[in-house]
Amino acid sequence: MKITYDWLKDHLKTSAKEDKLLEKLTDIGLEVESIENLSEGLDSFKVAKIVKTEKHPNADRLKVCDVDVGNKVIKKVVCGAANAREGLITVYAPPGAIIPKNKTKLVVAKIRDVTSYGMLCSESELNLSDESDGITELSSSKYAKNIGKSYFSKPSSNLIDLSITPNRPDCLGVRGIARDLSAAGFGNLKPEKDKKIKSNKKQTLKVKITKEKNQGCLSFGSCLITNVKNTESPQWLKDKLISIGQKPISAIVDITNYVMIDINRPLHAYDADKIDRGIIVRNSKSGEEFTALDNKNYKLDDGMCVISDNKGVLGLGGIIGGTRSGTELDTKNVLLESAYFDPRSIRKTAKKLNIDTDAKFRFERGIDQLSIDAGLNKAAFLIKEICGGEVSKIDIQKIESYKNKVIKFETKTFEKITGFKISTKEMIIILEKLGFKLKKEKKFFKLSVPSWRPDIVQEIDIVEELVRISGYEKIKIENPIKERSKNTLNPTQKLFHFLQRAVASKGYLEAITWSFTDSKYNDHFKGDKKEIKIVNPISSELGVLRNSIFSNLVMYMSKNLDRGIKDLSIFEIGPIFYGSQPGAQNTVVCGLSAGKKSRLSWIEKERNIDVFDIKRDVTQTLVEAGYDSEKFYIDDESPSYYHPGKSGRVFLNKGKDNVAAYFGEIHPNIIKTLDIKTESLVGFEIFLDNLKLPKKPLKDQKTKYSVSDFQKSERDFAFIVDKKISVQDLVSVISNIDKNLISNIKVFDVYEGGNIPENQKSVAISVTIQSLEKTLTDNDLEKTNNLIIETVENITGAKIRS
């Protein structure tokens, strides 16, 4: 909502400075978004006369004009306007002036080799109207004496742009803002002094609101003004509209706009002669069409509130009028509409047709139902004054009367909610100044809500009014008590934070990427999940929710590789989606690593990052998070976006519960298709929701401390075993032989080829044997030794290498 202090003073008696006003507006909830000085520099625009025109030597369409800018100074100006002619009085902008329309600063410029000192301006360039065809033409009778003087009469006050919250339609009118300010002790609201129409003439155009379901128009007031002469608005009215950044059009239109802004009363003016036998306000029928004042053709659905005549739709009530019945400069008879439309109906229709107008903006927030008369009076009076004519009586049709709202307000509620006190007397002053009618009972007020406040319906709304006007700075700070009765994080949240930092500590940079992604990437990683489309995405590249974090990470990894980094690890912890219902999401920690280890190191041999690097990251992270790696079970069934031979999945237990993690090389086909330029790309996904949470807190997880100081013995074995037997199985067989004696198992060599038979491999294992109870004798060791060989051979079919 744009206002000026000058306009505000039409309604508010005050002599306070503007900076105090700005402070007060923000303090009472009418936030000042910006202040703009529209008139700054406008005094340099001069009334000037073209004394001579010549054709431009190098351009057919341009003219070189000698312009009298006052005091016998002649300036040469190049001008392209067809109406630039000798004797024309127009508006001249000197170099240095800033053109209001496009805010560009004029400079002395050579236009096709002829130097132009300044510019002759069109009305459009001066933000006076939309007229951009030709330069401004000023009447010589009026302006001949003014040549050399400033064109803009007086500098207008600053343009104040307020951000009005949607609950405050009353402040979409200058008077409403003035009323709020007066309640807050900033000036006094001036009484309304509009004269009432005195007329004996009947309004002869019949108006009918049809009674039907969901009728969006509850009342329709009108008055007919005959024999008018529509004209340019007088200067005061033009100045007023220009001062808030609007362009004057014609007196009738300007007056309706003025009334709307002044008292938040939208009006519509029809050319009465274009209405075919009366107005019918009704619901539209599907397929009806009309051309609106924005020159667009709208096709209507069933049930939109339209103003129509016998020929059809004239306009959408409260939203936009139609071209067929619009007023023009030659309009003789005007029908003025002042109606009340239901906010929901307005919103529904405007949303469906995607129309946004000043009227719609106001009606959907709620217009004062009792302002119909005031609006008609104010506008009709001005039309008569400016355009002449005769005004009829006001006609009001309605299907529903306004119901006065009454609220019981217990005065103690104020302190209960705000924590501070104000006196009953103060409350009464504020509420009455805001327009409430008040009846004071012992413990409460009976409040009659002003008709311009649709937002006020219950007690809490009254508290808001009182605290807002008395000032939020009065709310006392109650310092919080440092006391905790509940854990801040639950076990899942703790695990989340732990995993996040555990992965980061392994050299991964944490990324946060959008939850939606490009289906082109997502298709590779969605697995068996269904695609979840966003109906109205920002762009088609962000059209689906991610089924996997890889969809984003792989793309960003590729971008980073293109930036020239060669070795990089990134990860993200966040949601992936498997359905479009709330909750159909999992939390995943997803990491991606590219390139080499020890690239260009003087001391270490460089190598491609590989699946066992990523396996370490996964395992170490899980171990750090408290899971026992001895119990982990790994197999090679992983989703298709991993390399089929170099990937696996991790279970926390051999019982094959839910998959705790996948890890592996990204499938070479994907790397190729997506053109990712790296020597190696490996990744992992840890599924937080599949990790069982520890049942016991850390303090109870520590078991009894027992270590053995008896001598330990390390024995090495080399088995030749079928390639298909996994090392995990081999190790598991050994560790199960005697958990008390076998304290550690290490795989120190795996070898294929050479003298090893095809489809077999040699696995070398070091086993640590140690007893908690005694020093083992050679005999004991020999026994265990033989048992290991025998058991492994029996169960796995392996052969010990001799």
Partner: protein
């Protein structure tokens, strides 16, 4: 007697020469070997006359000790020299780089969430969460924002179905609804998380982060709200004093509502929080609307309290001097590395939010 002295003097001076370990060992044998000069003198002790014997033995022992000590020290001197020579040869250029290491980082938004959680933990809030995909009821209707409400225009919503019933949450406020439906009052929670609006330009990202706060009890008023936020802002920005301004505003789900500005100034191109006369809006808050409480079956005549919503990314930008919101989600390794935090820098109450 002078014989012992002679041997001693002779060999003492001999040992002072530039000798190798082998030569010293030879001398050692010559003196202390089976038939060494000193050894054989010891054998003669018995034949020394009684009167002289004591002195003889004493002199002999002294000479022996002196010689032996000198031999030992000579040997260790030579060996020490040898070792030093060896170590000198082993010397490396210690300025060569260490073996390669990698350093990971935690995203500034994650760090900020941990900081926020740590601060609110201290005053008794616990953390709640809700899903990113929400139904229209939890995101709007239950929050006193019915279908026809113009306030919905302020939220450019992503929808997952044509009927506009399922959407990506536009704020973290639906967690209020979920929490209050799930449990019984009192409530004292914060809910950080991802939020979405179909707005994308230089200062808007279609995904951003918010933290919701909710405190409902029998007697919680606007003074508590002000106190809580005053405490939070001071702790978060790690400043002694802050300038804070409560400004009336409107949100359908709170009444009275406020927007909170903090005072700042720009010094040498850097933003200084808590000083100066410029205002910066950082959050919205208010007393939970009775209609919202009714919607979640909490009796508004018994319970009341406040709620707030803060933009996390914005806080991180202010605190850590980050200019561009879009860069948060662009995953440029240079940015992540520059603005990220060491994973060991866990914000906590006892060690403070940051180093």
């Amino acid at each position: 007697m002078s014989e012992i002295k002679n041997i001693r003097d002779q060999f003492m001076s001999k040992l002072e020469g530039d000798l190798s370990v082998d030569q010293i060992n030879e001398i050692k044998t010559e003196l202390f070997g089976k038939n060494g000069l000193i050894s054989s003198k010891f054998k003669t002790i018995g034949s020394i006359p009684e009167t002289d014997r004591k002195k003889f033995a004493s002199d002999l022992n002294q000479a022996k000790d002196e010689l032996q000590n000198l031999i030992t020290s000579k040997i260790s001197e030579i060996e020490g020299k040898k070792i030093n020579e060896k170590l000198e040869k082993e010397k490396v250029d210690i300025t060569l780089p260490e073996r390669p290491f990698v350093r990971g980082k935690v995203h500034p938004v994650s760090q900020t969430i941990d900081e926020i959680s740590s601060i609110f933990s201290e005053i008794g809030f616990s953390v709640e969460e809700g899903p990113d995909v929400e139904n229209e009821y939890n995101n709007f209707t239950a929050l006193n924002t019915p279908d026809n409400h113009p306030a919905r225009d302020m939220h450019d919503t992503f929808y997952l179905d044509e009927n506009k019933e399922v959407l990506l949450r536009t704020h973290t406020s639906p967690v209020q609804i979920r929490t209050m439906l799930k449990d019984k009052p009192p409530f004292k929670i914060i809910a950080p998380g991802r939020t979405y609006r179909s707005d994308s330009d230089q200062t808007h990202s279609p995904m951003f982060h918010q933290v919701e706060g909710l405190h409902i009890d029998t007697n919680i008023n606007m003074g508590h709200l002000k106190g809580c936020l005053n405490y939070f802002i001071k702790e978060f920005f790690e400043v002694e004093k802050i300038k804070m301004r409560f400004r009336p505003s409107h949100f359908p789900f709170t009444e009275p509502s406020a927007e909170v500005d903090i005072g700042y100034e720009i010094k040498d191109g850097k933003i200084i929080i808590g000083e100066g006369d410029k205002w910066l809006e950082i959050l919205g808050c208010g007393m939970v609307h009775p209609n919202v409480l009714k919607n979640v079956k909490v009796d508004p005549s018994k319970y009341q309290g406040y709620a707030f919503g803060i933009g996390i990314d914005r806080l991180a930008m202010l605190k850590y001097g980050i200019n561009d919101l879009r860069a948060f989600f662009d995953c440029d390794y240079r940015w992540l590395n520059h603005f990220g935090f060491d994973p060991l820098d866990v914000p906590s109450n006892y060690r403070g939010l940051s180093r």
